[in-house]
């Protein structure tokens, strides 16, 4: 007889994402396994398998003796319906065993709007949602990823958080669990011990107290827990674990190519960017190591495309050396080399031309703001001249496609700044008219604006978000100034970004909101097919939470912030200074012009910050 899952598979879309069995998947003999980890990604297979962090930690954990880490993804709605109808609990791909039978359940969280998926996945697994309802060591739930830098909205669901880069800390955590399991510790004892690992934050060891106006009055550590928990980093990337034997999905995923990370951290300091600050300090990988890893990765995977990734790849010092070696190898082996987030400098232009021999892709810029004044406020170091020069070059080289990304609602933004976007776009069109070699095909300018979301651990962490009405007014204002047929303008509704703002700077009082929304059926919120604001709106009302408190109110500079317990390296004093420089539209030059003193170098013991 065919089993239940096999009977369900013909009835759902893209069944291959539920079966595992891909090239590079790791299977272990259960007799040799002491700790089983279900590594959950709170989104679909296509998104999760494109995530580099998950791939690294999958390899790290499976390198450990006696540990088997398996993958779990959120099912699409049709599969979820079938699972609920037939009482089929959520399973892990490698063994097809139920998640509820695993020792540890890990999540990696890169996006606030994945919170509903976390709860929904625990629910589909048949695992109690609340940490306090999971007794004993079984089903220990922990989480990492960028969202762990303000984990408070999830505090009642997750047993502990792992902060920062996971290569070393994850091994320490799982090894401690291995010991605890062998010695039959209580959960309380394990949590007390795991909290001693630098970088581990156990929310139940902190009490949050509030003022009458709803702001936090104090965060009190309990049972000797540290006042602040500092994120972990890997100092020596050349010798750090890197998975050259990665899983190659048998079905198409979002980033269906090999991915090589060239360095970590960011020298730029764009004041709105959470990754830019929270991933500091800057650490390099050497071109020799990267070249070797690229070859091994390509040979093992059989991919026909490799991308050099990082927050800002053109800032990688070894880029010329690395691409000089990689380009001939890739050409010979018919591999596309893609270098994302190239800047508008001379070298990048040259490189772009060289890569063109491999494949021509679109031209993308993220000026973020329409006027130089506002770009100075946000410290986005990209001038109009740079954009137009690069465009001129590209147009004369045959390109006729440009994408431009902006934000609306940035601090100090006025209508003049909004209309500055339209002006910039017209200058791009003019540049095309003056430089295009092939005007028959016409020009396509794709403009997209996003609703600014203030994020923790950035100089804008205290800022107000503008109201949804005001955001829409600015979108319409901009739209009314686009006259050319060459322009397509995309803007999303404000709902998703408003919720993102609530949860990004949220506190513990939001836990019940997530739970309520999930009860109402919220899930896959990152997908237009599923996102339903009313479910969240109702949940906020139900729980008596005013979204404005977290969004349009803004946070006071001496207010206790929910994420004050978390130290990402960059100091609060520095963020404050940057905030005030923003108001004066004073640029802070990138780290290569001199260290701005963000404080993240204090995380380094063996090497210097390599900006």
């Amino acid at each position: 007889m065919t089993n239940l899952l096999q009977r369900i598979l013909p009835t759902v879309q893209k069944p291959a994402r539920y079966t595992g069995g891909e090239w590079g998947e790791i299977k272990k003999n259960l007799e040799d396994v002491r700790v089983r980890v279900a590594f959950c990604f709170p989104d679909t297979y296509e998104i999760g398998m494109s995530n580099l962090g998950m791939r690294i930690l999958y390899g790290v954990m499976n390198e450990m003796d006696g540990v088997w880490c398996e993958r779990v993804f959120a099912p699409w709605g049709d599969m979820e319906d079938a699972m609920r109808e037939h009482n089929l609990p959520l399973w892990a791909l490698e063994s097809q065993n139920a998640v509820k039978d695993f020792d540890m359940i890990a999540f990696t969280i890169g996006y606030e709007m994945a919170y509903s998926n976390i709860l929904n996945m625990l629910n589909l697994a048949g695992v109690p949602l609340h940490a306090k309802d999971r007794q004993g060591l079984k089903n220990m739930v922990f989480a990492g990823g960028v969202c762990a830098f303000n984990p408070e909205p999830l505090a009642e669901f997750i047993d502990f958080f792992s902060l920062g880069e996971g290569e070393e800390i994850t091994v320490e955590i799982v090894a401690l669990y291995d010991k605890a399991k062998a010695e039959e510790w209580s959960k309380e004892r394990f949590l007390r011990e795991v909290a001693k690992i630098p970088g581990v934050y156990v929310p139940s060891l902190y009490r949050h107290e509030y003022n009458a106006d709803g702001t936090l009055s104090a965060i009190v550590p309990l049972e000797g827990a540290p006042e602040t928990v500092t994120k972990r980093i890997v100092e020596d990337l050349d010798n750090a674990y890197w998975p050259t034997k990665m899983i190659v999905p048998s079905t198409e995923i979002v980033h269906d190519r090999a991915n090589l990370e060239v360095f970590r951290g960011c020298i730029r300091g764009c004041r709105f960017c959470q990754a830019g600050f929270s991933c500091r300090p800057v650490r390099k990988k050497s071109p020799e190591v990267l070249y070797k890893q690229a070859m091994e990765t390509m040979e093992y995977s059989g991919h026909n495309e490799i991308t050099l990734s990082s927050l800002s790849t053109s800032d990688y010092r070894g880029l010329k050396e690395l691409t000089d070696e990689l380009i001939p190898y890739c050409a010979e082996n018919r591999i596309n080399l893609s270098v994302p987030s190239l800047r508008a400098d001379n070298f990048s232009r040259e490189l772009m031309e060289k890569l063109q021999t491999v494949r021509k892709s679109g031209l993308t810029f993220a000026p973020e703001a329409g006027t130089q004044r506002l770009r100075d406020v946000i410290n986005k170091n990209l001038t109009e001249d740079e954009i137009l020069n690069t465009c001129a070059n590209a147009f004369s080289g045959g390109w006729n496609n440009v994408k431009l990304y902006f934000m609306l609602g940035l601090p100090t933004e006025t209508d003049e700044d909004v209309l500055g976007i339209a002006e910039l776009v017209y200058k791009v069109i003019k540049t095309w008219q003056a430089n295009a070699v092939n005007k028959k095909r016409g020009l396509r300018v794709h403009v997209a604006t996003a609703y600014f979301v203030p994020k923790p651990h950035t100089p804008f962490q205290w800022e107000k978000q503008i109201t949804p009405e005001e955001y829409l007014r600015r979108c319409r204002l901009l739209k009314s100034h686009f006259y050319s047929k060459s322009i397509t303008y995309d803007y999303h509704g404000p709902d998703l970004s408003r919720l993102e703002a609530v949860f990004a700077r949220g506190d513990r009082r939001l836990g019940p909101v997530i739970e309520e929304a999930v009860k109402n059926g919220a899930k896959l919120d990152g997908w237009d097919e599923y996102f339903n604001y009313s479910k969240w709106f109702d949940a906020l009302n139900e729980c008596g939470i005013d979204a404005d408190f977290y969004t349009t109110r803004g946070y006071g500079e001496d207010e206790v912030l929910p994420w004050d317990t978390i130290d990402v390296g960059v100091k609060k004093k520095f963020l404050l200074k940057e905030r005030h420089r923003a108001y004066e539209a004073t640029v802070t030059p990138d780290c290569r012009h001199g260290c701005a003193g963000c404080g993240a170098n204090c995380l380094l013991k063996e090497v210097e910050c390599d900006a």
Partner: protein, 219 residues
């Protein structure tokens, strides 16, 4: 052009036709077997699979044509190297220096396993045999221009029905697979339509062998 025979079994049956082409392209690369590429703006490695297999259907007789760039490698080596580079469930069974022209591909043998969780009802096999002895059995088929009705009987070369254990019925059939073609799952659709009282709880489908016009094995 060289051709290989492969099987698609186990969880690999859930891989779609397009994904399977990509899977092979990568397997050739992993095996160090460089493929020639198509011309044009977006060159693709040249592999093509004879009769696209529906998702969920197992097969022991899939044919894939490929073209190696420059190098001459013995068929046996190609097979061994590919099998070391393929995922579970996809396995090369044989490699031929040259395949017959695809236009001669005419028939295929298939096997349907009908599962009855509460046991096979009396008379099921006889009723099915009788059904497929009719002159006309009309089943809907999704075509390019929407749904069309077609009589499947002329496309069935031969067909047997037998009970296999208490809970399974097996149908073995030889059907047309090119101009016109009958998707074996339509045999099951016919049962659902004409004999709704014996609609199975689940159907497994397997492609067993392919033949030319003279009903000789096609390679």
């Amino acid at each position: 052009m060289p051709r290989l025979l492969f099987e698609k079994k186990g969880n690999a049956v859930w891989i779609s036709h397009l994904d399977l082409m990509r899977l092979f392209q990568r397997a050739f690369k992993r095996a160090g077997l460089p493929l020639t590429h198509t011309q044009g703006f977006n060159p693709r490695p040249s592999v093509s699979i004879a009769l696209p297999l529906s998702v969920g259907v197992e097969s022991g007789c899939e044919l894939l044509d490929f073209d190696l760039d420059g190098v001459i490698i013995p068929c046996k080596d190609i097979m061994e190297r590919l099998n070391c580079a393929l995922t579970d469930g996809v396995r090369v069974l044989d490699v031929y220096e040259n395949g017959a022209k695809i236009k001669h591909l005419s028939y295929l043998d298939c096997c349907l396993t009908l599962e009855y969780d509460r046991g096979v009802a009396a008379g099921t096999v006889e009723n099915m045999k009788a059904l497929f002895c009719r002159d006309e059995v009309i089943v809907e088929k999704k075509g390019k221009n929407g749904i069309v009705e077609q009589n499947i009987i002329p496309m069935i070369r031969n067909l047997t029905v037998e009970q296999a254990g208490e809970k399974e019925v097996k149908i073995h059939a030889r059907v047309c697979c090119q101009n016109p073609s009958l998707n074996p799952m339509q045999l099951s659709a016919a049962i659902d339509k004409y004999l709704p009282e014996v609609k199975p709880d689940f159907v497994r489908c397997c492609r067993v062998e392919v033949y030319d016009e003279q009903e000789n094995v096609f390679r």
